[in-house]
Symmetry: C3
Subunit: 202 residues, 3 copies
C-alpha cells in the first residue's frame, strides 16, 4: 500500500517534470532527467540528510516509473497538458503524501518532531525546486504566493504531533497527507496568497 | 560560547538571505527559504561530506533563528537595508567564524589539513552560493573580484596549520576567524580585486 | 593506473570548467571553483549517495590537479581554447572513464546493476551539470540533443552487465569506458541527434 501510493506520487511528479521539459524544448534526455529529478529529488535529499542510502537507489519501481512518465509525455504531451487541472490535483496529493511519509521516516530515524516536519516538507517540495532550478528558473514556490510549501509544512507538523502522542502508522500518515492535500486544494481554489514583505506589495 | 557565536553568524547570514528575497520580490515563504538556506546551507554541505547527520537538524536554535530574521526583514526591511554597511561587517565576521569552525570540525572527523581547510571554506561560503543560485543568479563570489572566498580559505588554512602544530581549542579558532574577518574587511575597504584571466581584463 | 587515469579525467574536466569561467568573465576565484566542481562534482554526488566519505576529500591529487588546470587556463587560455577539438575528445574519454569507474564503485558498495549504471552515469555527467548550473545556464545535456548522457549510460550498463557475469577488474572497466568513449565520438562526428517530444521538433 505504501509502495503503491509512493509510486503514484512519483508518477505524477515525474509527469510535471517531463512536461516542464517539453515547455522548455528540451530533448528526450532532458525530459527524462527532469522527470527523475522531480520525482526522486525530494526523497534523495531527505535520505542524504538522514545519512542513509537513498531509497531511490534501492527500488526498481522508483527509477522506472519516471521513464514511463517520460515516454507518455514524449508521445502524447498535448493530451497530457490538457489534463493539467487533473495533474495539479494529483500533484497536491503527491505533495501531501510525500510530506507525511517523509516526516514519518525522519521520526523513525530519530529526528525531533520539529526537524522531522521540516525534513518532511523538504521531501514534498524538494523535487519541484530542483526541477525549476535545472531549467534556470527561480523555484515557483519562492515567489508565486500560492501557499505551496505551507500546506506541506502544516501536514508534516500534524504528522509529527500525532506521532509524539503515540499515534503512528498508516491512519496517522493518511490523515496528515489528506490535511495537506485539502489545504493545498483550498489554496488553489480560493486563491489564498502568501504576503509580500511590508511595503513591497500591491 | 561556541553555540552563541554560531547563532550570531546564522542570524546575520539569514538576514542577507531574507533581504535578497525582498530585492527579488519573493513572498514570505521564499524569504524564509532563502534565510534558512543561506544560514544553514554551508554547514549542511559540510556535514554531508563528513558523512554525519547535519547539525542544523539537531538544534532548535539553528532552525528558529532564520525564522526570526525573516520576520524582522518582513516588517522592517527598509530599516534593515539601511543598516547594510553593518550587515556586511557582520557577514564578514560570520564568514570568518564559519570557516574556522568548519575547518575544526573537519579535522576532528579525520580530514587532512588541506582538505579540512577546503571544507571549512565551503562551510563559510556555501550558504551564500546556494542563496544566489536559488534566485537565478551566478554566485557573487565567482565573478565580483572582491576576495570573498580567499580570506575564508586563508583563515581556514591557518586554523588547519595551528591544529597540526597541536594548537586546538578556542584560542586557535578565534585567531583564525579574526584573521579571515580582518582580511575580508581589508579587501572591502581597500577594494582589493581578484584578477581576471590574462588578456580578458580591463 | 586507476589513479593516473582518474587524474587525467579530472584534469580535462577541470580545463572545461576553467574555460567556462573565462567565457563568462569570472575572476580567478570563480575559475578555480568551476574547475574543482566540474572535475570533482560527479564523484562527490556518487559518494554522497553511496553514503561514504567523498574520495575527493581523501586525495591530494584530486584537489590540486584542478588548481593546475586553472593556472594553465588563466595564463594561456587563448592557446587552450584553440585546442578545443582535442579537449572535446579528451572530455569524451573522461566521460567514459568516470561512468565505468563510477558504476564499478557503486557495484562494490552493493547497488543493483541497474542502479549502479545509473549512478555511474551521474558520476560521468554530474560535474558538467553543476558547472553549467553555477554559471546560470541550463545544463547542456538537457537540451542540445548531442547524446552526451546516452553513451555514458550505455557504457555504464555494459560495465554493470559484465560485472554481473563475473567479469570484474580493469579489462572490464576499460572495455566499458572505451565503448562509451567511442559512442560519444560517434555522436559528435556523425551529429546523431536526440529527439524532441513529438510535434515540437523541426
Amino acid at each position: 500500500m505504501t509502495e503503491l501510493l509512493d509510486l503514484v506520487g512519483i508518477f505524477v511528479f515525474a509527469l510535471t517534470g517531463a512536461l516542464m521539459g517539453v515547455r522548455k524544448r528540451l530533448d528526450v534526455v532532458g525530459m527524462a532527467v527532469l522527470a527523475e529529478m522531480t520525482a526522486l529529488g525530494g526523497g534523495i535529499v531527505r535520505d542524504l540528510i538522514l545519512n542513509v542510502r537513498p531509497a531511490a537507489f534501492q527500488s526498481l519501481g522508483y527509477v522506472l516509473v519516471p521513464v514511463v512518465a517520460t515516454a507518455i509525455v514524449f508521445f502524447w504531451h498535448p493530451h497530457v497538458a490538457r489534463g493539467m487541472p487533473v495533474i495539479l490535483v494529483l500533484d497536491a496529493a503527491g505533495l501531501g503524501l510525500f510530506s507525511a511519509v517523509g516526516t514519518q521516516k525522519a521520526l523513525e530515524y530519530g529526528l525531533s518532531p520539529l526537524h522531522a516536519a521540516l525534513l518532511g516538507t523538504v521531501t514534498g517540495v524538494g523535487g519541484g525546486m530542483l526541477r525549476d532550478m535545472l531549467v534556470g528558473e527561480i523555484p515557483t514556490l519562492l515567489y508565486d504566493r500560492q501557499f505551496y510549501a505551507v500546506p506541506a509544512l502544516l501536514g508534516a507538523g500534524v504528522m509529527a504531533a500525532l506521532s509524539s502522542y503515540g499515534l503512528h502508522g498508516w491512519p496517522a500518515t493518511l490523515a496528515a497527507a489528506v490535511l495537506a492535500f485539502g489545504l493545498r486544494l483550498g489554496a488553489m481554489r480560493r486563491k489564498w496568497r502568501a504576503p509580500l514583505a511590508r511595503g513591497t506589495g500591491e
